[in-house]
């Protein structure tokens, strides 16, 4: 016969929870029922057994600890506070360092968390966001599939009639146009949109209402545009005109003005006009399936899923593939609005810009590292501080405190300190870190969380994490000692603590690697800032032309101004408009930039001729057949002697007449490419370039600006100083340097604070030893050596590991970002190491002097 036994785990569970006084009768009764039922149906009996065990799991039956302590609890907690506070004030200097270090790290952590939190919750102010999708195309190219935001224009609002689940379709077509109100003319990005846009999205409206776009002659402008053109006036009802690329001018009335775009918007539209106006422009004869507009949004009705549209879309794919064989769409995907910003990095031409996730991940990692470092610091100092409280712990134990109570005491103390640090960190983050971060990035991050539960979860989690991580180890460590060995003086806590050395080592490792990274990065940035551009950008101003006649008018204006040294026209312009193309050389293709330049362009820009000559004047015979190339082109083509070689470009054959030095067409993000120059006739010019003596730019710029208003009143004057063309890059570099220096500075400060605290305690507890040594004749150097020996090896190892690690990581990063980085030299390493050595030495010295200045008479007389 089968052995009848109830499920073991249930019985164990019962024994675990049940009050021992009640266990026998309860277990007995359950067993009795089981035995009775098992005779009939074993399975049922077992189920019944489990059920009964669970039913007995009620408050009255659950084992509870003796409640005799309860009466005393408040007094004990009060005592914890008193003792904790006394300890704080006794070591107030180190406590302050401790809390400050933690607060700074927390403040930084909060700022970065808010940044990441915002980045992952973009666009959530649109109330219909759950139903809004953007139509994304998967387009198959030669060997890969890319995701594109551009979608066929013909998928329009008639989809609403075709499909019951679709509420609205909004197309967005971008065109540049020159918008004019009186004398204010600027080049603007105009969005031609379906009128439903304002209803689908919840962009805040200042004047007017969501129906404004129903009127074909209305334009809806953003707050910034309104201020730019109308200043403080109310723009409602004013008339503006926009001139488009084909020369057509359309007139609109301002029908609505948007309010400030929410900070969380990953996309917004500054100038909106109804899309019917776009068809009126007739940029193409007719629009078929091959024409892709910039974005299509589809709003589904409540309860309808995007999958319902799959069949319809398959039909569209077939239609599109028939007309557009070069750009075949494989499939459509409906990307929900909530994911749009997160996925924008992988979608080509996405209108939503939230940046690459690498930045967010990197920042989060750094923030967690810093918080962790600060926790280590805190832990280290807490352990060491606890060594001075061993007697207190022993007393508590002797009087009857158990280990758990001591752990509670230490963790409680810690959580209180951490709350303080958290509060301080929040204040720092609010007043300092977040505003600081905001000045470095183009967007503004408000000090707010995506949702209230998020805020609670974050602060609660942070407090618990820091409180436990920094408090748990000291608490468990010091509570374990036996009172007898403490009183006998056998416990030498802290002096041989391997764990605290590992933590300190880790701090220094992080500090050293970030400092090295900072210096290598800065070194590279300095190299980039100082790098010769290959021509002389000083005093050069360039301005884009719109009409062919603009060039002649500007030339006349230039001839009248005496401060103009030289001028030229060109088709494409170095650094402002580079034309990327291919040139054929014998059997090879060379990827190159091409510029078509007028008379004097090469001389005005100051390119340095290595061989041959520049173009002659416009009447010269070689006008059409000559080409000037850069040294890199010669190298890529594999020529020995460049002059006289043949280049085929744009199906025309050219002969090389000159070679110029390499020059920078792009900032350092892109690899350096060869360039070629050919001569171009006046009618082709789209840039006017003028050179003056350095320092005269401003006056000349104003002169041309006023001349321009007479030449082309419908087009904006959009000049740029050549020296400023890479400004965006240098600004970004500057921002990166600030961030990385701040992080490394913080890391080294935290590490040194840790060292300072540890050394301080160790010297404090060895004062008698130093006193005796002095009495016996030790001199200052010996004492310094003995006092600092303890942490010397830790820091040395951190150094040896941290330096190569930091160098490796930063060079990997620099190589990944810049195709043409500076060769790493020893200088940044030497500087970084010097800084770490000096700070470490100062830290050590400031503590060690305490050891050398010990007066033996004083220290030995005490007690």
């Amino acid at each position: 016969m089968k052995q009848l036994s109830p499920p073991k785990w249930a019985d164990k569970f019962l024994r675990w929870y049940c009050n021992p006084d009640l266990l026998e009768e309860i277990e007995g009764d359950i067993y009795e029922i089981f035995e009775r039922e098992a005779a009939v149906d074993t399975q049922k009996a077992r189920r019944r057994f489990i059920w009964n065990v669970l039913r007995f799991f009620r408050w009255a039956n659950i084992k509870r600890t003796n409640s005799n302590y309860k009466a005393n609890q408040m007094g004990l907690i009060k005592n914890y506070f008193t003792v904790g506070f006394r300890n704080l004030s006794k070591n107030w200097g180190i406590s302050l360092i401790n809390i400050l270090g933690l607060s700074v790290a927390i403040g930084m952590g909060i700022a970065i968390f808010i940044f990441v939190d915002m980045q992952t919750h973009m666009d959530d102010f649109h109330s219909n966001r759950k139903n809004i999708y953007q139509l994304i195309n998967h387009v198959k190219t030669e060997n890969s599939t890319a995701m594109w935001a551009d979608a066929p224009l013909l998928i329009g609002p008639d989809l609403v009639d075709k499909h019951a689940g679709v509420d609205n379709v909004v197309r967005v077509e971008f065109q540049y146009g020159n918008m004019r109100f009186g004398d204010n003319v600027f080049s603007e990005l105009v969005s031609f949109v379906d009128p439903a846009l304002l209803k689908v999205f919840d962009f805040p409206i200042k004047y007017g209402d969501v129906n404004a776009l129903e009127n074909k002659s209305y334009v809806v402008i953003g707050k910034n545009i309104a201020e730019k053109y109308f200043g403080q006036e109310n723009p409602m009802g004013r008339d503006v005109s926009i001139k488009y690329s084909n020369g057509l001018i359309q007139n609109y009335t301002v029908g609505a003005v948007m309010d400030k775009t929410p900070d969380k918007a990953s996309f917004s539209f500054e100038i909106m006009v109804p899309i019917d106006n776009f068809f009126d422009l007739k940029l193409e004869d007719h629009y078929d399936w091959s024409y892709a507009t910039d974005a299509i949004f589809i709003e589904m009705k409540d309860g309808h899923q995007p999958q319902e549209l799959e069949e319809t879309f398959n039909g569209f794919v077939a239609l599109q593939n028939q007309t557009s064989s070069k750009w075949p769409i494989e499939q459509f995907e409906m990307v929900p609005l909530s994911q749009l910003a997160l996925r924008s990095f992988e979608i080509d031409g996405s209108i939503s810009g939230a940046g690459h996730p690498a930045g967010r991940i990197g920042l989060s990692v750094v923030a967690s590292m810093l918080v962790l470092l600060a926790c280590f610091n805190y832990m280290n100092i807490s352990v060491t501080a606890a060594t001075r409280r061993l007697k207190e712990i022993a007393m508590r134990k002797v009087i009857g405190g158990n280990r758990r109570q001591i752990i509670y005491q230490f963790i409680l103390e810690n959580i209180i300190l951490c709350t303080l640090a958290l509060a301080l960190g929040t204040v720092m983050s609010y007043y300092f870190f977040l505003p600081g971060l905001n000045t470095m990035i183009p967007i503004t991050i408000p000090f707010e969380f995506s949702s209230f539960p998020m805020l609670i979860a974050f602060f609660g989690g942070l407090l618990l994490f820091i409180g436990l991580v920094s408090g748990a180890y000291p608490a468990f460590y010091v509570s374990k000692f036996q009172p007898t060995s403490i009183f006998r003086g056998n416990e030498k806590l802290g002096s041989k603590n391997v764990f605290s050395k590992i933590l300190l080592g880790f701090q220094f490792f992080f500090a050293i690697s970030t400092i090295i990274a900072c210096f290598v990065f800065t070194d590279n940035a300095i190299y980039q800032a100082e790098k010769d551009w290959g021509y002389n950008p000083k005093g050069i101003i360039s301005m884009p032309l719109v009409e062919a006649s603009d060039f002649r008018a500007l030339r006349d204006a230039a001839n009248k101004n005496t401060s103009v040294l030289s001028y030229a026209g060109s088709n494409y312009h170095v650094a402002r408009a580079n034309k990327l193309t291919k040139a054929e050389v014998l059997d090879k293709e060379v990827k190159t930039y091409a510029f078509h330049v007028g008379e004097n362009y090469m001389e005005t820009m100051g390119f340095r001729l290595k061989e041959g000559r520049f173009f002659g004047d416009s009447k010269a015979a070689d006008q059409s057949g000559s080409i000037i190339v850069t040294e890199m082109f010669v190298e890529k083509a594999g020529w020995g002697d460049a002059i006289g070689q043949q280049v085929t470009y744009d199906s025309t054959r050219y002969t090389v007449v000159g070679v110029v030095e390499n020059f920078m067409c792009n900032a350092f993000y892109d690899e350096m490419l060869p360039s070629v120059f050919t001569a171009a006739p006046e009618e082709d010019f789209n840039y006017f370039v003028v050179k003056t003596a350095a320092g005269n730019e401003k006056g000349l710029d104003e002169y041309f600006a006023s001349a321009w208003t007479g030449i082309a009143p419908n087009d904006p004057y959009n000049s740029k100083y050549q020296v400023d063309v890479f400004d965006y890059f240098f600004k970004e570099n500057q921002g990166n340097i600030v961030i990385i220096s701040f992080i490394s500075g913080l890391a080294i400060v935290l590490a040194c604070l840790g060292l300072f605290g540890l050394l301080g305690f160790s010297i404090q507890s060895r004062k008698k030893e130093f006193g005796i040594r002095k009495v016996l004749g030790a001199d200052a150097t010996q004492i310094i050596r003995i006092a600092s020996k303890q942490y010397f090896w830790t820091i040395l190892i951190a150094f040896l590991l941290g330096a190569p690690a930091g160098a490796f990581l930063i060079t990997q990063m620099i190589n990944a970002i810049y195709p043409d980085p500076k060769q790493t030299t020893a200088l940044p390493f030497i500087l970084a190491m010097g800084i770490v050595l000096v700070t470490t030495a100062v830290t050590v010295a400031s503590q060690v002097t305490k050891a050398t200045s010990v007066n033996p008479v004083q220290t030995l007389r005490s007690e």
Partner: protein
């Protein structure tokens, strides 16, 4: 007096304890109730009520001797106390009194 109030299930179990006399322990009480009233209850409920009755002083308990049943675990036997008897009497009298006050006409269902 708070706590002296006798709930319906409590009264039922108190009566059962009295009826079973020397054999009233958790499972027996549960079985008896099921047999007499047809209502099934969980043994944990019987335990909870018995303990409550003991706290109120209506029953006392003692541990029985070990037997071969139920793995040698002892049973806790409950017996009625004088206070318990009084509570039952009061309850019975109260109900009887109320019953008696129902006019005859109320029982005339043929109307």
């Amino acid at each position: 007096m708070k706590g002296s109030y006798l709930g319906e299930l409590e009264e039922l179990i108190l009566l059962t304890v009295g009826a079973l006399f020397d054999e009233a322990y958790g499972v027996a009480v549960m079985d008896e109730i099921e047999k007499q009233t047809g209502r099934s209850m969980n043994v944990s409920a019987a335990h909870a009520v018995l303990r409550r009755l003991e706290e109120k002083g209506y029953v006392t308990s003692r541990m029985g001797g070990a037997t071969n049943e139920r793995g040698g675990r002892r049973k806790r036997y409950f017996t009625l106390t004088a206070v318990g008897k009084k509570a039952l009497d009061e309850s019975f009298a109260f109900r009887n009194e109320l019953y008696k006050r129902i006019p005859k006409i109320a029982f005339n269902f043929s109307l």
